[in-house]
């Protein structure tokens, strides 16, 4: 009998601890200690967590290396995903210090709820471009060709930044596309083009540049009318706010702009 009672007590404790743990971990980042008060010096090791949109993978990796080189003792931890995914994670309390989004609308979801410090700064622009497999099996030459019957074109879903840009581009060019798939991230669109599943995809100019010989890029004239502006901001409640701000300045400064420009991003 005592075993059974012990079991029940154990069960009650387990359930209680689970519930308490649930209450303890609140969603907002606002419970964190205020920034800067711990007074880290440059010589101590500090890890900066940067969340960046998937289209910034190559550029931010290089920028992180350069930042680490310029700031001994600092490690930059990078996390790349679709901007909207990252917003969700930050909302749920993910430990991000800096956030770089692929468009203003996505960043606005955080700044609206005061989850970022101050006003975000635009550090680059990106425009859409058509990407086709290297051998261009569907003979695409212009944006209008994408709407031709029998062409398998893959785009981003309207809910994500590159999808919003696509809708704007369609409006500017006066062409309605009938895609075979709407992906959650531009990297998935590019993947379907490079693997030959799609005849064409709408991706960023930077993606085409990074993909090299695997894809052929076809510029779209009206794309200039629908650019995505990339903002960067320090996440509210970050424990490394000063370092984060320093990184943001690095990105908007000469070095950052140089790296971004070389990858194909437009000026801010």
């Amino acid at each position: 009998m005592t075993w059974f009672r012990t079991g029940r007590v154990a069960l009650g404790l387990a359930a209680a601890s689970v519930v308490l743990a649930g209450c303890a971990g609140t969603a907002g980042a606002s419970d964190r200690s205020p920034e800067g008060s711990t007074g880290h010096t440059e010589t101590q090791t500090e890890t900066l967590t940067v969340f960046a949109a998937a289209s910034l993978t190559e550029t931010f990796t290089e920028l992180a290396d350069r930042f680490e080189a310029a700031n001994p003792g600092v490690t930059v931890a990078l996390s790349f995903a679709g901007s909207a995914d990252l917003v969700t994670q930050i909302r749920e309390g993910a430990p991000a210090d800096v956030f770089a989004a692929a468009d203003l609308a996505t960043m606005a979801k955080l700044s609206r709820d005061r989850l970022v410090d101050g006003d975000p700064t635009v550090f680059a622009t990106n425009t859409l471009m058509i990407a086709v497999p290297a051998d261009n099996p569907a003979d695409i030459a212009s944006f209008a060709d994408l709407a031709a019957p029998g062409v398998d074109v893959v785009v981003c879903a309207p809910a994500v930044p590159c999808g919003a840009a696509r809708l704007a581009l369609e409006a500017a060019a006066g062409v309605r596309l009938a895609p075979v798939s709407e992906e959650n991230a531009v990297t998935d669109v590019l993947g379907k083009v490079t693997s030959g599943q799609a005849d064409a995809g709408l991706v960023y100019v930077t993606d085409v540049a990074a993909a090299g010989d695997a894809v052929l890029g076809i510029p779209v004239a009206e794309a200039e009318q629908a650019p995505n502006e990339y903002p960067i901001a320090v996440v509210a409640g970050s424990e490394h706010a000063r370092l984060g701000a320093s990184f943001a300045r690095f990105v908007t400064g000469a070095t950052g702009q140089g790296v971004l420009g070389a990858a194909g991003f437009g000026a801010r």
Partner: protein, 258 residues
């Protein structure tokens, strides 16, 4: 009430059950009930749910058509390399679904092993509902095979031997003895397969793409809604849980019907 197990095992079992139940409860508590009706009856949601039910049903039928003979071959016959064949057939159980999607792409994709031939013949599988059914069947088939094979092994071949000596041809034995006896395992296997097909995500996303009404099943719709409307995502997630629960509860037969 006579207890067949030591009481502490029940306590541990309860903790384990809580581990599964609590997250579901937690999610249910997040639902915005005032908007629930509007969220789950939106055009996109309804399209996703109907597509999921349709494709999962078709996949289950395919699993039955192919899985039962496979189980028979594994449990009732003997051939060289049988253990290896069995291990390979059960691979989708342990493979990450995305890997399954990549495997399907390399076979049925436009540049795939068979895909190129299909392209020439004018059949396109990529980005179609067929691709969704293929992906779901790929991941759900092992569940059915395992369930039926286990039942076959348990019942043994004794009844089938008796039937044969009574003059029943192998076809008659299969129809009148083997299959009726394997029915409980068949049903539970089909239910598992259906539930697995319903929840399939990784292989579908990689292989079939995502387009409303064509390939965007309910899990994919939830994935998309997460980006913009967390409330919609949670509401749809609850719908998926409810459908799965209904299917499993409705088809569960308590043992004891010998």
């Amino acid at each position: 009430m006579t207890l067949g197990v030591p009481r502490w095992t029940l306590a541990v079992a309860a903790v384990g059950a809580l581990f599964i139940v609590l997250p579901i409860v937690g999610m249910t508590l997040r639902v915005e009930w005032s908007q629930f009706g509007a969220l789950v009856t939106s055009e996109a949601s309804v399209a996703a749910l109907l597509l999921s039910l349709r494709t999962a049903a078709m996949s289950t039928v395919l699993c039955l058509l192919f899985g039962v003979p496979m189980a028979l071959a594994l449990a009732r016959s003997r051939f060289p390399g049988q253990r290896l064949v069995r291990a390979v057939v059960l691979l989708p159980l342990v493979l990450p679904p995305v890997v399954g999607g990549i495997a399907l792409l390399s076979t049925f994709g436009r540049r795939g092993l068979l895909g190129e031939t299909f392209e020439v013949l004018g059949i396109q599988i990529a980005f179609s509902t067929t691709a969704v059914v293929l992906a779901q069947t790929f991941v759900a088939l092992p569940f059915l095979v395992l369930s039926v094979e286990a039942t076959l092994r348990a019942s043994g071949a004794r009844f089938e031997a008796v039937a044969a000596t009574l003059g029943a041809t192998p076809g008659t034995v299969l129809r009148r003895v083997t299959l009726p006896l394997v029915l409980p395992g068949l049903i539970s296997g089909a239910v598992l397969a259906f539930a697995r097909a319903l929840g399939e995500f990784g292989a579908t996303l990689t292989f079939a793409g995502s387009l409303q009404g064509v390939t965007r099943t309910l899990p994919l719709e939830i994935y998309l809604q997460r980006e913009t409307d967390a409330d919609a995502a949670v509401a749809l997630a609850l719908v998926l849980v409810a459908v799965a629960l209904i299917v499993m509860v409705a088809t569960h037969r308590p043992r004891g019907l010998s």
